[in-house]
Symmetry: C3
Subunit: 281 residues, 3 copies
């Protein structure tokens, strides 16, 4: 059962996806047992794309920490310079079978359910750009610290690719920045520079690059000063409605994704986007 | 079917009201086919009151543009100096029959359903004061630019007239400024000066009067840079809950309006207000 | 029937709790009949703890004013230096019988239902620190003015005591500060200094201590300039959903409280907290 269900003493909402073979090297996990703080560093060059492999590893790593009594908090950050995560791996959504799309989308859903519903304190230490699914990961944490570099940007820019952020991306976004900013940012597919993102409340704190880890650890210490049980129940109270909404519509959301992504027009958009990315290199 | 229903591929929610005779001269509509941008200029002196005639013309003009493949966006503005729109025409709500109130209110509902649910990009270029229903029109657009003149004000000031903004005015307002600001502004019937409105997020941008059209066109171009389909589905996702709420309670809302406005005490308030306006002239 | 039900012309939601004996000296009530403004001054040294006695007196005093046609608004303030209210009286929640917990919690619920749903204009003149239940009282008013002293703090800090704010504390908080600020403040049990609270929108206005009563009266006059009926219906429209939620789950909320507070671990937390307070003296 996911963490937010356990905290609320509810029956299990969904089982861990059956074990898949996965590469175990896209995320560096370190647990400091003295502080109870783990660091999960995404290391999947060149841009930390959220591939099926990475998502699977993410879920399993997070679940292991969740079940480890020595671990009370997780700092999420990137081991790749200038990028936190570029978001969902487009190659997983292009030219594949419906079965593949289904497997991929289940992994995306599961990643979010586990992270947004985590009982642990989660801090995003955003040391690079963080579009789309990368932004979702940051939005799902309890606290967001970003390097103050104005060249780094963050946002749910799906609309720029001709695709639509799912309702639970939107719900998570609205919970952080409110309805008006979410509405215009989602329609425009806005990528906000770090200073803009700070003004909008999309990130909580800006810091110089060299102080990011120190500041993330300080924020984590502040959150860990609270008794776990009350903090977890409070977090669950704040997030349960939005988590429950995906759990209740998970299969429908999956079918929507498969039929949307399988459309010729969408496949064409994605191909054009990938070709544009190739030319940039 | 209204635009937001078409985008979401749903069965029609309500039919266009049966054709009424209406004056076709209260709104100037121009479509620039090269940019795909139409301008709807309210021109009903002295204050662009939203009369039954104007509302009917508004709905039909908007529907024509909605169905015109050459049109992707609409800029709403005023051809009357110093006023965007003074809101619902009080003479339509005073001393008339229940049948008249019903016809009028249906037109108000329809105007909002079409505008808030429009598939087109909608930009309000607010070149004057915009109380009550005038504010609702602005709130229903995707983006609001206002002339920076502090003498121009905007707000849902219904409470000052002794009447209550309907729940869907309130829902639209909360989506833009959040619950706290909406609650106090609605209770106080606040009219916010342009600079105040900007601070509250009630308008997105302030500009000098002479640059309003240029800046509205620039904002429109930014919104039109996005692929229509993804933008429309995103807009629908953000606004559907609030639109559906009126659709589900449309008849009840109508009966509420008729019985409220027919009360002697309310009729008396409106008469006093109209007399005060006459003395001002 | 509570005020918000009367305004909305609905059947009674709940009866006034059967009369209990209560000390009638913890709240000073003065009504200025010329202005229609009452002042309720909490005077229960040393820290205005919300004991069963004080809550009972609060409900009865508020109900009397609510039913007094001469009274249109209430200013809530403290007669104790440096403290508005320290929140729920911990001694009512420690080492008592389930029957006592039930009686106490019903009084807390009733206080909030009456205050948040009051037909009168309610202004909190916050002249000292205001943690937990003290903050709830302030949040339930229409307008919050606080002395600008940065040593005074306000917030729902329940998590710091190892307890969890009930859902209707949370709903009231979200309505004022939005989801993001509520989520982190509740998880961290944050007490915000007056200037911070102002920046977050948790209080509407900061004033020098010597001008607090004058400014509270000025704010009240502004709110009373509006016709009562429209203002009351508007307030009810804004708050009804959150009020109804507690009314619908009142018994469940009561049982949750009793079983939570009766836990050995929670009783231990409270004992430790009380011992810490004693040492401070």
């Amino acid at each position: 059962p996911p963490a937010w269900d356990r905290a609320a003493r509810q029956p299990p909402g969904f089982p861990l996806a059956p074990c898949r073979a996965f590469s175990n090297n896209k995320i560096l996990v370190e647990l400091d047992e003295s502080s109870g703080v783990a660091t999960m560093k995404l290391k999947s060059p060149p841009v930390n794309s959220l591939s099926l492999d990475l998502l699977t590893e993410f879920c399993i790593s997070l679940e292991k920490l969740e079940n480890d009594r020595a671990c009370r908090g997780v700092i999420l950050t990137s081991a790749v310079p200038k990028i936190f995560s570029s978001g969902l791996d487009i190659t997983e959504m292009y030219g594949k079978s419906p079965e593949h799309y289904a497997e991929f989308w289940r992994a995306v859903q599961e990643m979010w359910l586990r992270l947004y519903g985590s009982n642990m304190v989660t801090v995003a230490a955003i040391n690079g750009s963080s579009p789309a699914g990368g932004c979702l990961i940051a939005l799902s944490c309890d606290y967001r610290i970003m390097v103050e570099n104005p060249k780094f940007s963050i946002g749910l820019n799906e609309a720029q690719l001709g695709i639509v952020a799912p309702f639970w991306f939107k719900d998570t976004f609205v919970n952080v920045v409110g309805h008006r900013v979410a509405e215009s940012s989602l329609q425009l597919g806005s990528l906000h520079s770090a200073p803009q993102a700070h003004r909008l409340g999309l990130v909580d704190e800006l810091v110089p690059e060299e102080r990011l880890q120190e500041k993330a650890a300080a924020a984590m210490a502040q959150w860990l000063a609270l008794p776990d049980h009350a903090r977890q129940l409070t977090k669950s109270m704040m997030r349960k409605a939005v988590l429950d909404r995906l759990v209740a519509h998970r299969e429908e959301d999956l079918q929507n994704f498969i039929s949307f992504i399988s459309k010729e027009s969408i496949q064409k958009s994605l191909r054009m986007y990938m070709e544009m990315l190739k030319k940039k290199k």
